[in-house]
C-alpha cells in the first residue's frame, strides 16, 4: 500500500457522537487528514459531534483550539478530547472540552485498590491560578501554587494543598479516603468536601491564616496551622 493511503485516523460511531482516533504521525498531517475526511464526506459529518482520541500525544491548547475552530468552520463540533497525557487532558479542560466519556473511556483503571492507586499516581502540581470554570480531577493528591477562584473546582482522590487563596469548591478524598486533608494559606472555599462529608465554612471577620481542614469525630474541622 502506498505511503499516502496508510490509515492514520480511525472513525467510528459511538453513543456520544463520532470517535476519531489518531494514529502515529505529525500533528499537522493528522489535522489535515481529519479535515480532509470531514470535507470529503461533508454530508455525513455535517452537525456531527466529534470525540478526539489522541492517545498519549501532548497537544497544546492552541493546537487543539485551532482544530476545534477549523472543524467549527465545517459545521462539526469538537466537544471532547480523550488522552492518556495529563498535559493534553489539562489543555482540553482549559478549552472547555470534555475529557471523559461515560461508557467508552479508554482503558480506565477499574478496581485498583485505593492506596496503591494513590501511590502510583502520586501528586499533581498545578502552577497557575485556577479561574472560574476550570476543573481539576485527579486520583492522587493535588497541589496548587496560585489561587483557586470562586467557580473553580478541584476533585482529588487524595489531599489538596493550595499555596494561595482557596475560594472555589474542593473535594479531597473523593474516592472515600477520610484521612485526606485540605490545606491553604487562606482557606475560604465556597464548599469543602472530604470523602462523603460536606462543609460550608462560616464567614470570617479576622485576617486570614494558614489552615488545615480534616475529618475529626465525623466532622470537617478547620484548624490553624501552628509552627513548631
Amino acid at each position: 500500500m502506498p505511503e499516502s493511503n496508510r490509515v492514520k485516523i480511525q472513525i467510528k460511531g459511538i453513543k456520544d457522537g463520532l470517535l476519531v482516533t489518531l494514529g502515529d504521525g505529525d500533528w499537522n498531517d493528522l489535522q489535515s487528514e481529519v479535515l480532509k475526511h470531514v470535507e470529503e464526506k461533508s454530508s455525513f459529518f455535517q452537525g456531527a459531534k466529534i470525540v478526539l482520541d489522541v492517545g498519549s500525544r501532548e497537544i497544546s491548547a492552541s493546537d487543539l483550539g485551532t482544530l476545534r475552530d477549523r472543524l467549527a468552520d465545517r459545521e462539526v463540533l469538537l466537544w471532547a478530547c480523550v488522552s492518556k497525557s495529563l498535559l493534553t487532558e489539562r489543555n482540553s479542560q482549559m478549552l472547555g472540552l470534555a475529557t471523559r466519556l461515560s461508557p467508552v473511556a479508554p482503558e480506565k483503571d477499574v478496581g485498583t485498590p485505593l492506596e496503591s492507586s494513590m501511590v502510583s499516581e502520586g501528586a499533581l502540581l498545578v502552577q497557575r491560578t485556577l479561574r472560574s470554570g476550570s476543573k481539576i480531577s485527579f486520583r492522587g493528591h493535588v497541589t496548587v501554587i496560585g489561587d483557586v477562584n470562586p467557580g473553580a473546582e478541584i476533585i482529588a482522590g487524595g489531599s489538596i494543598v493550595v499555596w494561595g487563596k482557596l475560594r472555589g469548591m474542593v473535594h479531597a478524598g473523593a474516592d472515600g479516603d477520610e484521612a485526606a486533608v485540605v490545606c491553604s494559606i487562606d482557606l475560604m472555599p465556597t464548599q469543602l468536601r472530604i470523602a462523603g462529608r460536606i462543609a460550608i465554612p462560616p464567614k470570617r471577620e479576622e485576617d486570614p491564616q494558614p489552615e488545615t481542614a480534616s475529618i475529626k469525630d465525623n466532622q470537617v474541622i478547620a484548624e490553624p496551622w501552628i509552627y513548631k
Binding site: A61, G65, D69, A72, D73, R131, S132, G133, N149, G151
Partner: protein, 267 residues
C-alpha cells in the same frame, strides 16, 4: 504603521461592553487614530444604536463575510469624527453566520488600512465570543464591581488564557463612589485582587452614559462627563501613555478632597 485589534468582552451581559467599545473608538479617533469598530453581536446588534448610526446601515458584517459587498462598503463613516468607522452586525442572522477564521481574515484586511480595530464581543462564552476573540491582539475584559460580573470575568479571563490571547486587561465600569464610601460595593482593589490582571480603566457610574446612549451620542464626546474622561484615559493607556487613574475608588477624606480642589483651582 502597526495596527492593533482589541476585543472587548465580559462574559456577563449588561456590564457595558458596547458602551466601552463605542467610547473607546470615539476616544481613539479623537486622538487622531483611524479606528474601525466591529459589532460582533450578530442577531442582537447594538453598537450602531449607541453610536447613533443605525439609520445609515446598508451592508453589514455578514454581507462582507459572504461576499455580497466589499469591505469598504460596509464601513459606515461617523460624520462627527473624521476617522471613525463602524462595521455593523447583521440583525437577521445569528452567530453561526460567521466563523473565527472569517474574523481573522477580515481583520487582516482591515489592519492594512486602519490603526485600531475594536471588536464588540457578545455576552457568553460560545461561538460569538470565539469569533470576536480569534483576531484579537489585546483582549479587554469589562466588568462591574459586583460578584456575578466578576465571577464571569474570571471565567472569561481563563478562556482568553486558554486561547493564548492573554494576559487580558481589565476595565471596571460603573463604579459608584458613594456606595464604595458606604462599604456597599466592591472596590476596584477587591476586583483586581481576585482577577489578578492589569487594570487599564476605572469608569465611574454616570447618568450621562444612559442619556448619551439613548441619543446615540457616545459620552466620550461630552467633555463634562467624568465617564467620558475615563474612556479617553483608557484610550491613551492603550496607546502606551501613562495616565493616572481618576480618583474615585478610594475613600477621599476631607483633607485630600480639599487639596484636590486647591490643586485644580491653582492649575
Amino acid at each position: 504603521m502597526t495596527s492593533t485589534v482589541v476585543t472587548i468582552t465580559s462574559g456577563k451581559g449588561g456590564v457595558g461592553k458596547t458602551t466601552t467599545t463605542a467610547n473607546l473608538a470615539v476616544a481613539l479617533a479623537a486622538a487622531g487614530n483611524k479606528c474601525v469598530c466591529i459589532d460582533g453581536d450578530i442577531g442582537l446588534r447594538n453598537l450602531d444604536v449607541v453610536l447613533g448610526l443605525e439609520n445609515r446601515i446598508v451592508y453589514d458584517l455578514v454581507d462582507v463575510v459572504e461576499g455580497r459587498c466589499r469591505l469598504r462598503q460596509a464601513m459606515i463613516r461617523d460624520k462627527r469624527l473624521p476617522e471613525l468607522y463602524l462595521i455593523p452586525a447583521a440583525q437577521t442572522r445569528d452567530k453561526s453566520a460567521v466563523s473565527p477564521s472569517d474574523m481573522v481574515n477580515l481583520c487582516e484586511e482591515l489592519k492594512s488600512e486602519v490603526d485600531w480595530v475594536l471588536i464588540d464581543s457578545p455576552a457568553g462564552i460560545e461561538r460569538g465570543f470565539r469569533n470576536a476573540l480569534a483576531p484579537a491582539d489585546i483582549a479587554l475584559v469589562v466588568t462591574n464591581p459586583e460578584i456575578s460580573a466578576v465571577r464571569d470575568a474570571d471565567r472569561i479571563i481563563g478562556l482568553i488564557e486558554a486561547e493564548q490571547k492573554g494576559p487580558a486587561r481589565l476595565v471596571i465600569n460603573r463604579l459608584n463612589a458613594e456606595m464604595i464610601k458606604r462599604g456597599d460595593m466592591l472596590t476596584s482593589i477587591d476586583v483586581v485582587e481576585l482577577l489578578a490582571i492589569e487594570l487599564v480603566g476605572l469608569v465611574p457610574e454616570d447618568e450621562a452614559v444612559i442619556v448619551s446612549t439613548n441619543r446615540g451620542l457616545p459620552v466620550a464626546l461630552n467633555e463634562q462627563s467624568r465617564a467620558g474622561q475615563a474612556f479617553h484615559n483608557i484610550a491613551h493607556r492603550l496607546m502606551g501613555e501613562e495616565v493616572p487613574f481618576l480618583d474615585m475608588e478610594d475613600k477621599p477624606d476631607l483633607l485630600r478632597r480639599l487639596s484636590r480642589i486647591i490643586r485644580s483651582g491653582g492649575a
